[in-house]
Amino acid sequence: MESSSNSKAKPRSEVLKIMEGLAQELYAQIERGEEPVLEIPSRTLSNTVWDPKRRIVVLGPDKLKRRLLDMKESKRFMQTILMLKLIVSSIREGVYPTIRDLYYNGKHTITFRVPNVGAVRENTWDEQAESNAAIEDLEVGLNVLREEMGLSADVKGKVVGPIVVRSKGFEIDATRMGDTALGLPPNPDELDIVKIEASYVLVVEKDAIFQRLNREGYWNRENAILITARGMPDRATRKFVRRLNEDYKLPVYVLTDSDPYGYYIYSVYKSGSIKLSYESERLATPDAKFIGVTTSDIINYKISSDYVIAANERDIKRAEELVRYPWFQSEAWQKEINLFLKMKKKVEIEALSTHGLKFLHDYLLEKIHSGKWIE
């Protein structure tokens, strides 16, 4: 299962060839009378490495050998190859299944009669987590993203602001959307960016805040691209933000609630998650800056204790994880997270409204233009 290190988007026809190649390789092993073995970069925590230059976590050099004839790995091997077949078929048929489609498409029961035990029945997979893991194995093992394989997924990302894109031959101008917004496609690498004249990108955690800022003319005044993914970003939105930053060098600012979940959302835009580090190389925006709301804002902006929420167990636990992330080792972030762990208090973006309903704008301008972001 050799993989190229090329990180540019691959057309579906190329992807097909790579996948067929894997099947050929396995067949060759079997013909030689060898036990079929898949070699896949290990996705364990111990093989997840912080690359300080690129400021993302990447998979280390460890590879695991998955054997068909090992009780612990046999089923997983079968699942990976079954998924290989399903995706090959979907490319050949020109359809764009979701990962849930593939789960159902591949799920069936296989049986075998064993003497003294009776019929043994086993599902190819029971939970979608298993078929998803098979997809991840293929992504990592073949170095092909699921978007490149043409899989469909929920896309939450919406964009407005000074950018013009082309999709399937149509140009869409995101300055000319009025109160509506441009909904991102599942594979934003396929978008051609026709024109882009923005000063920066503002990523907003909350859809309703995105709507407010759009209606209140924020991006127009600031010449900024406004993006939201309603909470935890999906892969397409992350890919798109990364592209704006990497290809067009636009600064990216992230606005979330002040709580470990908000920090984590920022963290996902910035570097991905440790668990899914294999995605980071393609999806992360290491340059992304955090403009708030921070824990120290509670003090600096005199947010009354009435609007502050006590952190719960899960918040604390998450913050204790965050503070150890390699990309949160900057002095500023260490200070913020430790302050949170000390105060154990959270606050929402909307709490800024305690200073009036227009205060949000003042806050954003101060944070962005006076360099009060952290990263």
């Binding site: 079929p36 079954l82 078929s89 296989i110 075998f112 064993v114 003497p115 043994v120 190819t124």
Partner: protein, 524 residues
């Protein structure tokens, strides 16, 4: 001006008549259960203790009034000497069991309480028929107790020729009782008695027509206990004073060797010198303070030999397994009889067994059967040392995952069972006993683990073959579909790879299995 207060003295029988509940005769249902139990335990003590295979009949019937019951229990035991019959049944605190030796009953109170309860509620005497082994005659006495004097009242007496060479004792009594409430207790009791006495034959007829027939499973009998001497760690000052007044006309060292278990001549000399008493002095000459000193030190001294277990009679590993197999019908049973141990000078032996599967219903924690001197303990399990130990065990170490069909049986025999309460239903947390119970349970649990492991391994090997074949088919089908070739073409080649691999794995396991077994022996 002194306030007028009258004092009076009560005889033991009168005192117990007034305080029946202290001996377990609190109400009609409890009293009925207790009566059956006392009579059956006496029957067992009169047989197996003397090398006789117990054959016991217990007939319970309704009697002339609604809430009166007639109980008849007959054994084939050694019988009671004619002259002793009235006292054995009619005098509280009269017994043959006040010895250092394992008995079921030990208080010398049971049979008398049955009579006291019967005569208090129905005003009827008890009938006792008995013949000793080889006796030419059979004797019958109808007895009541004169509670004011604690003396038997013989209401009727008869004797006849022992034509059939019968020996044993039969007791018939009519008393108030509540059968409906006692039924379940009585039946559970009989079932459990059978578990530790598979050499006994017991026939029970119940008032409602139900019959319990416990058949003999084996002719093997446990070795009967011998009569013994007290251990120096187990005595108190009063007991020693009694010994002195009875046997006290010899040098202290000789007195000690002759009257106590675990004391050799050398030990006695060493001990006495260490506490500053001249071994050659006559025991009679010791003054009160010296006796106090002697006994206090005797209890503290740690160099005595362990108490002997000759006066104990465990069920034995084999009989216990037979009994459990018969009553529970499990898939597998493993029992052990530990070596004798002791606490405070009292010898004891712990036996334990685990039974698995078969007709045992799975439950969320191990089902426990407890016995003390072969007497089943039915109540107050939560207070019992056995429950505490069983709950502490991490059963997952022994490959048991609950709910599981697991029964744990523990039998503790001792010349003195340390009950947690006067209810005699729970055994106290004595560290020495706790430790033995733990070791016994671990030992049988380990054997259970070996058994379960083997079963598991056999199943695993079959499963492995099945999985490899199933998954290989799926893989072959997928590869064939992608490459556009025939599935069989891929599968046939794969099958060869599989069979080579399986042979290889089995060879490896053979070696690993040996290693595991060695490790287990190391732990045991």
């Amino acid at each position: 001006m002194a306030t007028d207060v009258k004092f009076e003295s009560l005889s033991p029988s009168e005192w117990f008549r007034r305080n029946k509940e202290l001996a377990g005769f609190a109400n009609p249902s409890r009293a009925l259960y207790q009566a059956v139990r006392e009579l059956i335990e006496n029957a067992l003590d009169a047989t197996e203790t003397f090398g006789i295979h117990p054959f016991i009949k217990a007939y319970i019937k309704y009697a002339e009034r609604d809430n009166w019951l007639s109980i008849y229990v007959e054994d084939n035991g050694i019988g009671i000497p004619k002259d002793e019959i009235p006292n054995v049944f009619g005098r509280v605190f009269y017994s043959s069991k006040y010895k250092v030796k394992q008995h079921r009953g030990i208080f010398g109170l049971g049979a008398k309480m049955v009579i006291l309860y019967a005569q208090s509620t129905t005003n009827k005497p008890i009938t006792v028929i008995s013949a000793q082994q080889g006796s030419d005659k059979v004797y019958r006495f109808d007895i009541m107790i004169d509670t004011l004097r604690n003396e038997p009242l013989i209401k009727y007496q008869e004797e006849w020729d022992n034509k059939y060479k019968w020996h044993g004792t039969a007791v018939h009594v009519v008393m108030e009782g509540d059968w409906l409430k006692a039924k379940h207790r009585v039946e559970e009791y009989i079932k459990r008695v059978a578990m530790v006495a598979p050499y006994a034959e017991i026939h029970v007829k119940e008032p409602d027509g139900a019959v319990i027939d416990i058949e003999r499973v084996t002719l093997t009998l446990p070795i009967p206990p011998k009569e013994g001497l007290p251990h120096p760690k187990s005595v108190d000052i009063e007991a020693v004073k009694q010994l002195i007044s009875r046997n006290g006309d010899s040098p202290v060292s000789e007195f000690m060797v002759e009257n106590f278990d675990g004391v050799g001549e050398e030990t006695a000399m060493n001990f006495l010198q260490s506490i500053g008493i001249d071994p050659g002095r006559n025991i009679k000459e010791l003054n009160t303070d010296e006796i106090t000193h002697l006994v206090t030190k005797m209890r503290e001294y740690n160099e005595w030999r362990r108490p002997r277990a000759d006066w104990l009679s465990p069920v034995g590993t084999e009989l216990l397994e037979q009994g459990i197999r018969k009553t529970l019908e499990p898939e597998a049973v493993f029992a052990t009889t530990r070596k004798p141990s002791s606490y405070s000078g009292n010898p004891f032996i712990v036996e334990a067994a685990v039974a698995w599967g078969g007709k045992i219903e799975p439950s969320d924690r191990p089902i426990i059967y407890r016995f003390a001197n072969k007497v089943p303990l039915l109540y107050d399990e939560g207070n019992d040392v056995v429950r505490h130990v069983v709950d502490e065990v991490d059963w997952s170490l022994y490959k048991v995952k609950f709910p599981a069909p697991l029964v744990v049986v523990v039998h503790i025999c001792s010349t003195k069972i340390p009950y947690a309460s006067a209810g005699k239903e729970a055994i106290a947390d004595v560290p020495e006993i706790e430790s033995e119970v733990r070791l016994a349970i671990r030992e049988v649990a380990r054997r259970l683990r070996v058994y379960l492991s083997r079963k598991e391994k056999e199943k695993e090997a079959m499963m492995r073959y099945a999985m490899f074949t199933m998954f290989s088919r799926e893989v072959a089908s997928s590869i064939a579909s992608i490459l556009g070739i025939k599935e069989d073409q891929v599968l046939n080649k794969l099958k060869k790879v599989i069979s080579r691999k399986i042979k290889y794995l089995e060879a490896i396991e053979e070696v690993e299995g040996d290693g595991e077994q060695q490790q287990q022996q190391g732990q045991a």
